[in-house]
Symmetry: D2
Subunit: 336 residues, 4 copies
C-alpha cells in the first residue's frame, strides 16, 4: 500500500482523496490545507490525519508520495520540497507555471529516482482510451487534424488565462493521441475584464507533417460545448463529452485526393459510409490515474501515461501561446 499525503483539500482534493483511499494499492494518511474548516471536513469524511503545515506532511514518515492539488503558482515550490524530501509527486495540471520549473522538477525527480507525474485526468477516461485505440489500431488512418471546442460559463481566474485553465485537457489528449513534436503555436484572444487576462482564446498548434490542431476556449459562453474532432485520412472521430453515454462517434467517411499532372487540378473522391458509436467503458478516470501513479512508484521502470514528459509539453505549448498572444498572434517556435 502506497501511503499518500494530499496537499490542498479544495475543489479537486476530495476527489483525489476518495480515489487514493482504496483497498487495493494506496491509502491517504495525511491531508494538509491552510483552511481549518476544510481539514475538519476531511476528517469528518475520511479516517485521516490532517495538518495545516505542508512541511509537516512532506516530511512525515507516514507519507510515501505527495499529491499536490494547489493553485499552479505553488506547484514548483511544493513539488521541489517533496522531491527533496524523497517523496514521489503527483502534480495537479498544469504541471507548473513555466517550462523551466517543469524542467527543474523533472531533473530533480530523475536525480532522486522518484516518480513524478501530472494529473491529466482525461487520459484515463474511457472516451480518450477509445480515441487512442482508434488512432493506434490505424482505424482513423493517418491523422490530419484535431479540433477542440471547450466553452461554457467558467469562473474567471485572477492569475491564469482561459488557455491555462481549459486547454491542458485538450493538449494532453493531443499529445497522447499524436506522437509528433509540434513546431509552433499561434494564439489569439481577448480579455473582457480590466486585468487583461484572456477569458476567450484560440490556439493553433502546427506540425512539420500535414497535421494541425486547433483549440477554442472560453469562460464566457452560456452554451456548454465540449467537442473534439479527430480526423484521419480514413475515418474521423467526434468526441462529444456532453453526451451522457454516446461520447464517441466514428464516421467512416474520407476523401482521396487525386491530382493529375497539372498540380492545380485537384480531384477529390468522397466516400460516405456508416457511423459507429462504440461502447465506452464507464469508470472513474481518477481511479485509473491513482493506480497508474502507484504502479509507477512500485515499478520504477514504468512510464505512466500522464508522465512528466507529457506535462512539460503541455506547459511549453501554453507558454508559447502566451508569447504568441503578446506578439500579435505570430507563430512561436517550440524549441525542444
Amino acid at each position: 500500500m502506497v501511503k499518500i499525503g494530499v496537499i490542498g483539500y479544495g475543489y479537486w482534493g476530495p476527489n483525489l482523496v476518495r480515489n487514493f483511499n482504496n483497498k487495493n494499492f494506496s491509502r491517504v494518511t495525511l491531508i494538509s490545507d491552510l483552511s481549518e474548516q476544510k481539514l475538519l471536513k476531511a476528517r469528518a469524511t475520511h479516517d485521516v490525519e490532517t495538518t495545516n503545515d505542508f512541511n509537516t506532511l512532506i516530511n512525515s514518515e507516514q507519507v510515501d508520495a505527495v499529491v499536490i492539488a494547489t493553485p499552479v503558482f505553488s506547484h514548483f515550490e511544493l513539488g521541489m520540497a517533496a522531491l527533496n524530501a524523497g517523496k514521489h509527486v503527483l502534480l495537479e495540471k498544469p504541471m507548473a507555471s513555466t517550462s523551466e520549473e517543469c524542467r527543474l522538477l523533472i531533473a530533480k525527480a530523475e536525480e532522486k529516482g522518484l516518480c513524478l507525474m501530472v494529473d491529466h485526468t482525461f487520459l484515463y477516461t474511457g472516451a480518450v482510451q477509445k480515441l487512442k485505440d482508434l488512432v493506434k489500431s490505424g482505424e482513423l488512418g493517418k491523422l490530419q487534424y484535431l479540433d477542440s471546442t471547450r466553452i461554457n460559463l467558467g469562473l474567471l481566474q485572477p492569475d491564469i488565462n482561459v488557455l491555462w485553465d481549459l486547454a491542458p485537457h485538450d493538449l494532453s489528449i493531443l499529445i497522447h493521441l499524436f506522437d509528433e513534436d509540434p513546431v509552433s503555436v499561434q494564439a489569439s484572444g481577448i480579455s473582457h475584464t480590466s486585468n487583461g487576462i484572456e477569458n476567450i482564446a484560440y490556439m493553433t498548434v502546427n506540425y512539420a507533417s500535414d497535421f494541425i490542431a486547433h483549440f477554442n476556449c472560453s469562460w464566457t459562453s452560456p452554451v456548454k460545448i465540449r467537442q473534439m474532432l479527430v480526423g484521419g485520412d480514413n475515418k474521423m472521430a467526434v468526441f462529444n463529452d456532453m453526451e451522457p453515454t454516446e461520447k464517441i462517434k466514428v464516421y467512416d467517411t474520407g476523401f482521396e485526393v487525386k491530382s493529375d499532372e497539372d498540380k492545380r487540378n485537384i480531384l477529390v473522391d468522397y466516400r460516405v459510409g456508416d457511423i459507429h458509436i462504440p461502447k465506452i467503458e464507464m469508470k472513474e478516470a481518477l481511479a485509473g490515474l491513482a493506480k497508474d501513479f502507484c504502479d509507477s512508484i512500485i515499478d520504477p521502470t514504468r512510464t505512466p501515461k500522464s508522465s512528466s514528459a507529457l506535462g512539460i509539453s503541455v506547459v511549453k505549448m501554453l507558454e508559447a501561446a502566451d508569447t504568441s498572444l503578446k506578439e500579435g498572434g505570430k507563430a512561436v517556435n517550440l524549441f525542444k
Copy 2:
C-alpha cells in the same frame, strides 16, 4: 420592371434566375453561359433568350442590370465591362479577387451613377435579420464576441482556399451585425493536398474595442456544423443553421465583472436565466436580395443591405487572412 441579364448558369445561376423572374419588380430577359447545354436547360425552364457571348448580354438593350454568377477570378473583368456599358451590377460573393479590384469597381459605379451590389445572401435570411434585431434593439447588450464554425465535406476548390469559399458568409454577417472597423486579422490553416491551398483554416478578427471574432472553416469534416455564437454582455444568441426551424436560441445569461481596488481581484457574478427561441420568418433569402437590388436601382439614394462597401470589407479581411497565413499567423493590419 427591371430587365435582368444573368451571366453564368451553373450552380447558383438557376436560383438567381428564378428569384429575378417575378411578377413584381424584375424579369430575366437574357442569360449567357459558355455551355450550350446549360443554356438549353435555361430555355427549357424559363421564357428567356440566351447567348454564349457575355458581351452580347452586357450590351443588349434588353438588359438594365447584369447579375454575375461566375467564378470569382472573372468578377472584375465582367463587372467592369457591365458598368462601362451602363448597366447596374450584382456580383456573386466574394466581390472580386482583390480589394484593389473591388475599389476600382466601386469607383466606376460611382462615376457612372450605377448600382453595384454583392450577393451576400445570408443577410436576407430570417435568422440573420433576427440576429440584427437582437443587436439593434440592444437586447444582447454590448457585443463581446462572434464565434462561427462552418465545417463539412466540401468540394476542394483549385483556385481559392476554404476561407474564400466559406468565410464570406460569416464575414458578411459579422459586418452586418457589428459596425466597428476591424483592426487586424490573424489566420492559421493547413492544406492536405499538393497544391498548398488550405482546406482547413482558422481566422481571428481583432478590434480596437473589446470585441473579437473567430471563424473555423473546413472542407474536410464529415460532421456538418453551421453554428455562430454572438455574445453580448447582456444576452447571447446561438445561430444553428442545421436546425430546420429553431435556428436562433437566445440565452438570457450574462455576467457582471466587479473588480475591487486591487485590479487583480476580479469578481464575476453570473446570471443564468431563461432561453428564448424566437420564431424565424421562413422566406427565400434570394427573393429579398433581388428586391433590394431592384429597389436600389430604382431609388439611387438607397444603400442596399449587401452593399459594395460591405463587399469590399469582406475581401479586405480575406486578403489579410491570406497574408497572415503566409506570414506564420501574425496579425495583419487592415488599413482603411
Copy 3:
C-alpha cells in the same frame, strides 16, 4: 414504356407525375382533375394532355395504367371503373374506405388479370429498406415490438380521423417488416372539434406470438416527432425520420431472460453494446414505387412490394381501430 394516366393533380399528384415521367419505363400521357387551374399548371410543367372528365382518361387508348390520387372516398368508384376498362391501377393510400371495397377491387383485378397496387411510399425509402434488411438478415433477432410516434401540427381533415391519415405509413411498414397476421386491434383517442373526428389517437395491434405494435398519432402537437422503435431480442433499431441523414440507429443491446424453476423468479441479463448508424441510400422513394408498379404490369407473375394484399391489411386494421374507438377501446378481432 407504360402509358400512365393520373387522376387528381392536387398535393401528391405532381410528385407522382414527375416520377412516372421518366425516360426508362413509363410516361404520363393524360392527367385529369376537376380544377381547370390545376390542369393548366400540369400542362405548363409537363408535355401532357389533360381532361376534366376522369371517364375520358379511364377509357383513353393513350392510357395503359391509371394512377388515382384523389380523396379516399372516391378510390373505390374510380378504381373499379379503371379496372373494368382494362387498366392497371395504382391507388393512393389508404387503399379504400372499407375493407369490403378493397376486397371487391382485388377480386376485380384478379378477374381481369390486371395489376392493382397501393401507394405506400414509405416502403421504398432507403430507411425502411434498411429496416427490412436488419429484420430479414436476423440481425435484430426475433422481433418483440414496434412502437411508433407520428405527431405534429396537421391539417384536421373533415372526413377521416388522424389514424386514417397518419397510421397507414406505420401500418404498411409494420406489415412489411413483420410477417405474422395480427389477432386484434385496440384504440383510444379524442376529438377536440365538434365533428367528433379524432385528432389524437393511440392504437395497439396484438399478435398470437409475443410481439406487439403500438402507434401514437396526433395532428395537435407543435413538436414534430417521427420515430419508430423496432425491437428484437438481439438488437433494436430506431428510425428517426426527422434526422436528415442519420435516420437509423441500431443498438446492439439486448437482454436474456433466465427463469429458474420458480417461474416468478425472473433473472434478466442485460448486454449493452455498440451503436451503429448505417448509411442510408438517399433516393426518391416514389421513383422506386413507380418502377415497381411498371415492372409488375410488364411481368404479371411479380408481386409488388406495396401490394393490394398489404393495402387491404392496412385498411382492415384501421377499420378495427375505428370499431375499438367506438366500443371503449376493447380488443377487436381481425378475422381473416
Copy 4:
C-alpha cells in the same frame, strides 16, 4: 425537529435518510432493515441507531414519524402498524398494492389524526413545479392532452408489471396538473417473460371533458426516453427529463377551430409562435418532500402536495389498468 424512523435501507432509503437528516426541521433517529450489512452501512454514514426489527422502530419513543421504503406488498402492514402506534407515515410510491389497502390506511390516519403521505418525488422537482405554474397561471390555456413516454432498459420486476413500476411518476404528475376526476382507463401490453408480467405496456386515461392522457412504459428499450407533452389550447409544454438543464420547452403554438354551420366543415387556424425555455430551479426534490411531510405533521390543517388522496388515485388507475389488460383493453370505469 421531527424525529424520523426509516424502514428499509435499500436503493431509495439512503436518499430519504440524507434528506430527512437536516438541521432545520427533522432528524433521522432510527433505521430498520432486515440486512445487517445495510444497517452497518447506515451507521457508518450517519449518526443513527439501527434495528433489524421494524416493530422496535415503530414503537420507539425516539420516532415521531415513520418513513416506509420497502417493497409495495409490505406497505399496508407496515403503514397500518405505524399508524396504530400513533406515528405519522410517509409511504414510498405506489402507496399500496390495492386501492382498498389505501382506503383503509387513509381511514386509519383520519381516525388517529395523523399525517399520511406518499413519496411521489417528482411533484417536488423544479420541472414539475414549472409545469404546474404554466397550468395554474392559464398560460397553456385549457388542457387538452398529456402524453408521456417513459422507456429504457429497466430491471424486470418479479411481482409488479412495468406500469406499477414506471407509471406512478407520470400518474402523480397528471393528477397534480389536471384536477378533474378521470372516468375510465384502458391498457394494452405484453410480457416477454414466462411469468406473464408485462414489461411493455400502454395506458390511456379518459375524462368526461375533452382531455386525454396516454402513457407509454417499457423496461425493454435501449433508448432511454423520459418525455411528457402537456398540451393546452393556447400553448404546449414538453418536459424532457433527459435534458440536463433545458427540461421544459413551451411552444407558443395553438390552433383555433372554427366550424361553420355545416358541422362537418372544420376550419383550423394554426398559430406558430416563439418557443420559451424557462429556467428551472435545480434543487433536490426529496428535500422539498421531506419539508412538506414535516410541515404537514406540525400543522395538521395543511394538505401536503403528495397527499394520500393523490396516492390512492394513482393506485386506482393502476388497478383499473390491470383489469383492462386482463379484459382485452376495454375501458374500465373508475368508480369514485
